[in-house]
Amino acid sequence: MTTRTILHMLSPRPQVSPFDINMAVDAGFDMIFPHASVEPSQVYSLTQDIIFSRGPSGVKKTAIFIGGRDIGIALDMMETTKQAMVPPFEVSVLADPSGAFTTATAMVALVEKQLREHHGQDLQGKRAIVFGGTGPVGISTGVIASLAGADVTIVDHLSLDTAMQIAEEYNHRCGSTLKGTFASSGASKAWLVTRADVIFNATKAGIQVLDEEMLETAERLKVVGDVNAVPPPGIAGIKSKDLGTPLSTAPNSPGVVSVGPLAVGNIKYKLQNAMLKDLLQLDKPVYFDFHEAFTRARKLV
């Protein structure tokens, strides 16, 4: 009998996400095993438990997925798995909490591509605003865009402290140069939009963060991206399938185009599927986080 492939799915949350479980099954893992409510302090011993029972050939058929909703915790957990490996007893690890790394890299890569195709520019020095910037997808989007050279401000809808604290934490952790701010009123959002080259929306599904009136103030907007697939659109005028589609709701920014949630979702899906498959197909163990996801997303688009 051939050795079956096993994916151990770790999450600090009470449940491993059914989204990720579906993805893992469809990527071809024979056996999916959920480990829910995992504390970061358990990761070292869980990892060693995972690597030692299947022999040197068995580890090549074994991998770890790290989910949850907090990207800081997921990155820490991934670091712990690395430290726990005892070569040749070593398995591949993919971290994608809330699907944030694959979603954010897909959105940033698509927006970057539209920027090049429609405006002949890259992200270097562009002013980028991330609404929903303190959630997992928002933080990841901010970090990735910042590492790609953009001047990124992450926006919390309630608290300046939260936004600044998160910006500082992830700048320290990931080497980005995020700024944080908050905007709850239409006026404050309109003011942020005025100066933006690029807007990313990563707010919760079903919330319209920018309406037509706020978008009217945008004077230099080039590309907008939105991950929210549940109506109404997070940014007025964006449609699900948009991909380099002119955005009619920002009349004072000629040439602005949009990237809709289905376009993002499509790349995200391919990205996550390919990374899950490659956990067992490469010669040596791999550790995939948003760096790998972004490299691949850029190639994919």
């Binding site: 993805m23 469809d26 999916i32």
Partner: protein, 302 residues
């Protein structure tokens, strides 16, 4: 490679029932994924997580099962799940807490079969007593009978509890269209003379109706007992009884035992699980569909 069939199995309890896991695997669900200690408030996000990652062809091979022990909660969770779908991203859902929906459906359908076969009648206007009827199987059996036109009384040790459960059945499961009565066990002697059907849905090993009480029911036609552990819940019905005359009945009543009910329950449960795999459009299944499918199975056997 075709996408595997995935069943996301939610329970409010610490453990899924291994019975349900076995059934799902045998019905062709290749991946049966447990989600434990689920609160009603988590259902929406879990379901929306489950529907979006497999594409339109994948959702046809994905479904959810809702277990736990509480019928009211399971139906609420089923409703929430249904409302969380975002067409065309929608999946089928089956609720069967403690197996109560399929067990009650099997028991009532089997009793209906015997009423037809031995007494040329049906559930309409029958006086039905449900002993130890406040549990999951009892309450759902009461609802199914009442919706079929029977006059139902739930009996229990404490009348207050019987009343609470009857109110729940009438208002929630019956949406105000049924009138199930509630009684304490001390009223049983008064009701037995008019009873047409008696169901015993109590815990294993407790006798709820004695031989003398069976003899004191001159209109009794069918009695059924879900309890497979001796002594029987109703004197004179053993676990294998399947339309077998009850010794000592003055009215020629027949009995249905736990194994006969279990057999129909098994078929109904299996068919519901298969229906979620085979249906072209998503289906949302609880005790009503379980009853319809149990009736269908019984008809296919006659």
């Amino acid at each position: 490679m075709e996408k595997p069939y995935i069943l996301h199995m939610l329970t409010t309890e610490k453990n899924l029932s291994p019975f349900d896991v076995n059934m799902a695997q045998d019905a062709g669900w290749q991946v049966t994924m447990p989600y434990l200690c689920i609160a009603e408030s988590e259902v929406r996000s879990l379901i929306q997580d489950a529907i979006f990652s497999r594409g339109p062809s994948g959702v046809k091979r994905t479904a959810a099962f809702i277990g736990g022990r509480d019928p009211e909660l399971a139906v609420k969770m089923l409703n929430t799940a249904r409302e969380s779908m975002v067409p065309p991203f929608e999946i089928s859902v089956l609720a069967d807490p403690s197996g109560a929906f399929t067990t009650a459906a099997a028991m009532v359908a089997a009793a209906e079969r015997e009423l037809g076969k031995k007494f040329s009648t049906d559930l309409t206007d029958k006086n039905i007593i449900i002993l130890a009827g406040t549990g999951p199987v009892g309450q759902i059996a009461a609802v199914l009978c009442a919706k079929s036109g029977a006059k139902v009384a739930i009996f229990g040790r404490k009348k207050e509890k019987s009343e609470r459960i009857a109110n729940l059945c009438n208002a929630f499961f019956g949406e105000g269209n049924i009138q199930i009565q509630a009684q304490g066990n001390d009223e049983l002697e008064k009701y037995l003379p008019t009873a047409d059907v008696v169901f015993a849905t109590g815990a294993a090993g407790i006798q709820l109706l004695s031989a003398e009480q069976v003899a004191s029911a001159p209109n009794l036609k069918v009695a059924a007992d879900v309890n497979a552990v001796p002594p029987p819940g109703i004197a004179g019905i053993d676990a294998m009884a399947d339309g077998t005359p009850i010794e000592g009945s003055t009215s020629g009543a027949v009995g249905i035992g736990a194994l006969a009910i279990g057999n129909i329950k098994y078929k109904a449960h299996q068919r519901l699980l298969q229906l979620m795999r085979d249906s072209a459009s998503p289906v949302y299944l609880h005790y009503d569909q379980a009853f319809a499918i149990a009736r269908e199975y019984i008809q296919s056997q006659s």
